[in-house]
Symmetry: C2
Subunit: 144 residues, 2 copies
DNA sequence: TCCAATTCAGTTGCGCGCAATTCAATTGTG
DNA sequence: CACAATTGAATTGCGCGCAACTGAATTGGA
């Protein structure tokens, strides 16, 4: 393949990835708006619904986001009444994030979202699982 | 699969897509920084290197971005001296974006980037082509 | 024990993305 | 032709992402 070809927009992997990621977030947006969440906020809630009481650092490791992104995002979730943020007693450098009852309750309202998105893709669960694995593999290759 | 499972972060397609897309942009960032470009600016340049003299609307259609994103981005490219923006004479509502000699020259400097990224993924061109097609198909399904 | 190095969250600054709005130019219809 | 509807770019406002930095708390080595 020539350099010319490699510089063509439609032949690069990155652009479809970038476009698909944004389109995915846009598909979630109206569903999440009903809960009062943005997509990154939803990701934080997914982590907390699975493991309540995590530090900002742990959230960052799971979501690949830094404190510059998480701190203001968590403050907004706190203002909304979905989470509490408190300095850890055993290590005062870290901050523990935990769900409020309201934050826990939100999980039920979110329960219907994944299926709605799966339907939207029009792919079978097998196709989705394979694509997810491929994209994950790509991510691992790139991110080191 | 249960609702519980569907809400698990690691089982969703969207999160790996989101993480991979950001990781990809991060892989481009140091290479593009040498040219004075961000990743979205690079996408605009890719379009212009292929088809010089396009309107903001056409750019938006190719990149799935609106004027709210493009107008300030194009102003920054203009300030850098890579593009010119001028009101169309036949339709004064639209603005035509074209390359400056400096913008055209940038293409040669960018020529080595796609291959560097391909190497970074550690995938064969066949694997990349297949993944690109799958992601494109997903994008088309979602974005309507 | 002391103190330099590290860690963790927070802050600042900037460039997207995108919804919503504005305004001027153009188009289409009676 | 008139004028309402549409189109295209620009603007505003907000929430990310992320690099770079700050400052406080903790750790680890001499």
């Amino acid at each position: 393949m020539s350099t010319e070809d490699l510089l063509r927009l439609d032949l690069q992997l990155c652009f479809p990835l970038y476009a698909a990621s944004r389109a995915m977030v846009q598909a979630y947006t109206p569903l999440l708006a009903k809960l009062g969440l943005t997509y990154p906020q939803y990701l934080v809630m997914l982590v907390l619904w699975e493991t309540d009481g995590v530090t900002v650092k742990e959230l960052g490791e799971k979501l690949y986001l830094d404190s510059g992104t998480l701190t203001p995002l968590l403050k907004r979730l706190e203002t909304q009444g979905f989470v509490r943020r408190e300095r850890s007693t055993e290590d005062a450098r870290s901050v523990t994030v935990s769900l409020t009852p309201q934050g826990r309750a939100l999980r039920r309202k979110a329960a219907s979202i994944p299926e709605a998105i799966v339907c939207r893709t029009g792919l079978t669960l097998e196709e989705l699982a394979r694509l997810r694995k491929d994209v994950q593999r790509l991510f691992e290759k790139i991110s080191k």
